[in-house]
Amino acid sequence: MQSIVEFRNIYKSYPGVIANDNVSFKINEQSIHAILGENGAGKSTLVKILYGHVKPDSGEILINSDLAIINSPSTAKNLGINMVFQHFSLFESLTVAENLILGMNENISLSKLKNNSKTICDKYGFNLNLNSPISSLSVGQRQSVEIVRSLLNNPKILIMDEPTSVLTPDEISKLFKIIKKLVKDGLTVIFISHKLEEIINLSDYVTIMRNGKVVSTISTKNEDPETLGYKMLGYKVSKAKQVSDINFSQEIFNIKNLSTQSKDPFTINLNKIDLNLKKGQIFGIAGVAGNGQKELMEILLNENDYEFSGDIIFKDLNINNLSTFQRKSLSISYVTEERLGHSAVPEMSLSENIFLSMNHKSEFKKGDFINFEKINSYASDVINNFNVDTPSYNVKAGKLSGGNLQKFIIGREIMSNPELLILSQPTWGIDAGSEAFIKKTIVELSQKGVSIIIISHDLDELLEVCHEISVLYEGSLSNPLKVDNINITKLGKYMGGLFD
């Protein structure tokens, strides 16, 4: 088979990090080639170099065995290279067709474009109404728009950056069918992912990257998730299996009939949410991003007096109107999705970041003055107990890696002995070692009787640690499913909104 793309000694460094360290490998024509690696392994940088978005410091790219100089995305497009980004670039208020025409390099009439798009949609089974505005589409449909937009340019090579991270299981299998058909018709697909099973199911070849270097490029035929995972990480990660045959009895936290009626078209209205959490239970809220997770978290935190109807009850006390400060004082702790700039301030030291979340505790204050001694010793305890890799508590939070900072933040909350811990995307974007540590910590915490709610897009994570899972879909929360002998097909249907 002929190679369509060849990377030769690609080198790219950013201040303080080598993103690509002499990367060399070939991609065969008409194949699905996955690039696998952890966050920060250099996958995205590499494909951005191929797409002309980032300039390498040195190295060459060969397209069809010819040296190609790709210094902008438009050169890439002329060479037949297109890319579907992880974050979409669509205009919300324009229609699908209008968005498609904006992506075209050549001049084309709207009617001709609609015809072309319709042909593509019919051929590959994209279910799109060309006249609907983007704001009315689901995340999966938006991705279809992005893919169709690329296909209109008749690409030879299509790069997809983590395309499944925003999709439901059902949408993922549909996408895979489409990709396979595209490849049959002559396309080469470069597929970036860190999900092992997906790569084995979909791709023909996989290049594994670690710390900017290529570990190996292999056929996926003889691999299974475990062997592939070992190659990706260089070490084995043990799973934190939740023991879930416990009979929970004592109710601790209830949400009753929670609804919102916001007129803002860019927020999701919550619809009669009921949730029942017992002492020592871990409850997962699954679902694709943008189905009301942000709004639910906002109401649970109460940072902005978000308006809602219904009741939130913590230990028989209605906390509807209690502020963030008061809720924290009742021993409810929060870890938000965004680390830098929300649950931590990057420009402040770790000690100061302790006080950020613990300023309701009287032990850290002497009247209006701050007791830095106590805070520093609390910070040291967090650093020691939660394996935070840092020379001291005076280091600025922004200097820590994502995983280290998340361990610090979760440690900070856990050390305050909460009775209820609410986490949003606790392991998003962090290294596998920290992820495993955090999962283990969460499970152990529940065994000590702390109740935990996890809002996450990562289904595998929820299945690993939770006792029960509900799915949030367009503002409605499904009935809970026990994770013990869970029916994955049913869960998949729930994620597509098929529940009462």
Binding site: P15, S323, L356, D368, I370
Partner: protein, 353 residues
Amino acid sequence: MVYLIRVQLREDYSNFIFYLSPLVAVALTLFFGSFIFLILDLSPIESFKIFFISPISNSYGISELFVKATPLAIIALGLSYCFKNNIYNIGAEGQLTMGAIFGGGIGLLFNDSTSVFLLPLMILFGAIGGAFWATIPAILKTKFNTNEILTSLMLTYVALFILDYFVVGPWKDPEGYGLPKSMPFPEAGRLPVLFDGLRVHIGVYFALIICFITYIVYNKTLFGFKLKVSGLSSKASQYAGFKYKNLIFYTFVISGACAGLAGLFEVSGPIGLLYRDISPNYGFTAIIVAFLGRLNPIGIILSSLLIALTYLGAEDAQLFLKIPSAVGFVFQGLVLFFLLGTDFLNKYRVLIK
């Protein structure tokens, strides 16, 4: 993506340079300022001597330096509360004027008083007047989300017109030959001077006390912590449970009270009565002082002395070099320009390709 000039955020910008950059800005100002003198056919070295050295070469000059630096420091210290909180109160000049009207009004109301309580009462009302004027943009900001830069600036002109109204109207001195000014304040309403024959007054002590309190607040207290957090990230401040609206309100009140205090010190100190031009733009210049001092209380004291010198130098330059005193404002502008420039270059790397 081909740009001729690109800027890139520095991963690791230096704290040392952050504190060094005011000095760099001053050096650059002197360097480029010398061209102004060259263009005017004056020797830069002689001119700088007249501008920066001769004004403070005697005790009178040094006293004048403190007279100018005192209001600048007091206002800038107040403004630093707002700026730390990312609230841009540009209307200190108006708050200063209101402080002068309120406090001065008390002085005129009791113009035959000899009580020792008159001056403290005037000082109190000066602070209240400034704080009152600052609460207007604060309320507009918190209730209607209006831009505080615009409202506070526009209210400055309103305050100046109110002062105008009083000094040509109800408070006009009947024996003032029709000039737009009030009667002088009674002796009990005048700010004591520190040395006989010099104008430097006890406002200096106030500036130092405010500096000390501010230092403590910023470094040791919960309130200072709240300001720091909400200045760096409003989301993190909400996460911490701080009420941002309250912080907006408090910082406006503090900075307004400081500006009002400075206004009262001007009228009951060096001036002794109310008239139209009570402040040579102290309220605006204090913005430069606050940033040049890196919003650090001690830095502000130092930068207030430096900027005060540009006022004195401009007066001497007009007298001895026969150039307009506006050259003082040119220097203030240059300092601010170079300070913003050095800050930018410290934070970003410029790549030219």
